[in-house]
Symmetry: C2
Subunit: 486 residues, 2 copies
Amino acid sequence: MDNLQPKLQAVAADELRNRLAAILPAHSLIEETEAQRPYECDALSLYRELPLFVALPETVDQAQAVLRCCHALEVPVVARGAGTGLTAGAMGHPEGVLLGLAKLNRIIKIDPVARTATLQPGVTNLAISAAAAKYGLYYAPDPSSQIACTIGGNVAANSGGVHCLKYGLTTHNLLSIEMLTVEGERVTIGSPGLDSPGLDLMAVITGSEGLLGIAVEITVKLLPQPELARVLLAGFDSVRSAGDAVGAVVAAGIIPAGLEMMDALAIQAAEDFAQAGYPRDAEALLLCELDGTVEEVDQHIAQVSNIFSAHGATSLRISQDEAERALLWKGRKSAFPAVGRLAPDYYCMDGTIPRGQVSHVLEKISQLAEQYDLRVANVFHAGDGNLHPLIMYDGSDPAQIRRAEQFGADILDLSVAVGGAITGEHGVGLEKLNQMQTQFGEAELHLFEDIKIAFDPRLTLNPGKGIPILKRCQEYRALPGKHNHG
Amino acid sequence: MDNLQPKLQAVAADELRNRLAAILPAHSLIEETEAQRPYECDALSLYRELPLFVALPETVDQAQAVLRCCHALEVPVVARGAGTGLTAGAMGHPEGVLLGLAKLNRIIKIDPVARTATLQPGVTNLAISAAAAKYGLYYAPDPSSQIACTIGGNVAANSGGVHCLKYGLTTHNLLSIEMLTVEGERVTIGSPGLDSPGLDLMAVITGSEGLLGIAVEITVKLLPQPELARVLLAGFDSVRSAGDAVGAVVAAGIIPAGLEMMDALAIQAAEDFAQAGYPRDAEALLLCELDGTVEEVDQHIAQVSNIFSAHGATSLRISQDEAERALLWKGRKSAFPAVGRLAPDYYCMDGTIPRGQVSHVLEKISQLAEQYDLRVANVFHAGDGNLHPLIMYDGSDPAQIRRAEQFGADILDLSVAVGGAITGEHGVGLEKLNQMQTQFGEAELHLFEDIKIAFDPRLTLNPGKGIPILKRCQEYRALPGKHNHG
């Protein structure tokens, strides 16, 4: 699709450099290759690309000026938060500017009465809850990377986390966004009210991966910390029993704060790493957190215990205090680095499947692992059907890289085939661009493309990611008039 | 803006008629003026217009064929559900087709395990809960017109209701939509999962008032009926005290299932009509419904009672059973027809204001009533700041009509001036098109316009409603190429 990009070769990099240098302080413009290295990829390091320039604005005005400059010169702009994304969505463009927003990290306002926080995009996810804690409030979505990832990145990816089963994804916890358009215009999306006139653009912006605009101020909802939270750990002697138990919890009308599954390899890796007391001999493990008032939690703990026992749980442990709750979560939360110790590299996939398909899909994945001769550990947001297979490989072996990529693609195709989706919370980015055509029909893809063009007619915002730009766009771009670049 | 519409005079009405007659059974194509009368307005009868033709398809295929035909001939299409809208959003176009979807009224599927209902657009709001009741489930959004209004219309208007404070508007209760585009293509928007890849278009479609596409199949979430619901009725001797009590309930962290306010005139009208036992001497009344488990409801009822007493409630009554709960709601639910008995006509406005502005805004409205020499009764979704002033007038007196319209416009301007919005749940339609420019800046309006054009480049879907089409569009439309009609 390279021939669809603006003819960047025609842009004088010098002219761009001079304009950027006039906008940014010297330490905010990174030109040298070695200094750019930390920015060449996000957390999916299979894909790497150095941008022309890295711009790290310290004010919204500077960010706005960078966008205006790039718009005037038709230069691609890729926004980046902390670079913790897993789909190469924040990988730079070789002929463009990588716009890092990490320095815009001010907590503008916490309003404990309205229960909102207004934030610059570079504020980390965990910093929001930390700042809200003194009011007994917190921000619910909690990606595994929450210590590092930024709220701007969370908005771009519509991030989830173990608690999104009950409290929703980023999109369900946002009130309004101040966004810069590709032209550098500042627009307000959403409102503090329940409804607002005009088109509701919040959801289309959320999760749009920097393709439609760049958020520079974000107002999120805060929730009261629950009176009590307890976690229940159960081992099972088969994935099927654990999967059935998950379905039974949901069917009983209980919405746990989190409901996670791990398979045997993930359990062993996590236990070696975190010593959380996980049952090493179990084929599958469920972690179920219940929160609310003391009465609610007690009632739900009893119900879930019964359900797990009825489905053949081989072990059952309930956290008795906050320290034990943290310990039980520690294994799950360190599952990725724990698996990281088993192999030089791992590739974290992200597909969604109907809950009823868990055992079928895990069986298939196990067959694929044999076929590709690669090990895989499975960690799973079981409550909402979001599967994270961790494919282990050695990145120094090009053949293993290829096999890992193909294995990952097969898992996504499998997810679609059983009625699921190619992403649960990581987004599409560069990684899954081809799978968009597995997931969607032509009519839907055309609609996405039309909307992309409505926001960004010259296709300079994060080009080549998220939304396939189809052939007809080439025709479209060749027309004289509004969208012409010739 | 008439000069922005396609040059419909050039369309041969005969050609259109012949093509429609080939698509629809004879009884589904309404051509005669008198037979069209029931379709000339929605529930905002101040605005009336007869379309060229009324089409009432009985199958989705027929609806699709009508859209294809209109697209080919560049004829405007206005979709209509039950015509209960309050902003003339479903008023027909004099040179177009009014596409009534009321005959597509099949409940396609109720899935009690997934807790979803899949519906054709003409299913009435109340029919969903009626069909779900045997599984102990219901559909939460409950517009006052729920006995008549359709789920398709609810999607178009993003309808609310007294229970949306706790359970959200239509947009928060939808899972997916099958939509016909202006070209008659069928696209799937949304998915049953929590997240989905691609752009999340559900929210932008919901509330888009037939400007972007036409929903032909809608999957909604169903909720378990709460174990218990009780309602608390309190009289106050001033609007200010009642308003402060509302703020105190919300500040206490209680989210009532509904929290409604009525002023003196609305109380008296409702009591005359419904004999619900409302306190006739009160200056303001609050109705607060709490639902959940028995323990939760009891605890909240006690807390809210204390808050109301502390804010000077002059009377307090708590429903003791379902019959009493229904009676207490009966007054509120019949407030509109009750006010309708006080004057030949009334004009129901819909603005949203910050909760803290209630008494200030009601005082101003009372001054405006004197200035325009018209009576007004106020009914108010107090929990979410959604005000419904009912302006009484005599529709046989053109001067009163003009004064009522100006009074309404002043209320909307006032809402924006205090930090609120020109609509809470009724939408923009034709009625509030001018106020969109009070509410939004140029950058936001351009964005809305760009998205409208992305979905509907020829501007034939419900033209002249919802989104102001600004001057630049005229230039845009004059360009040769994709969007050209010449």
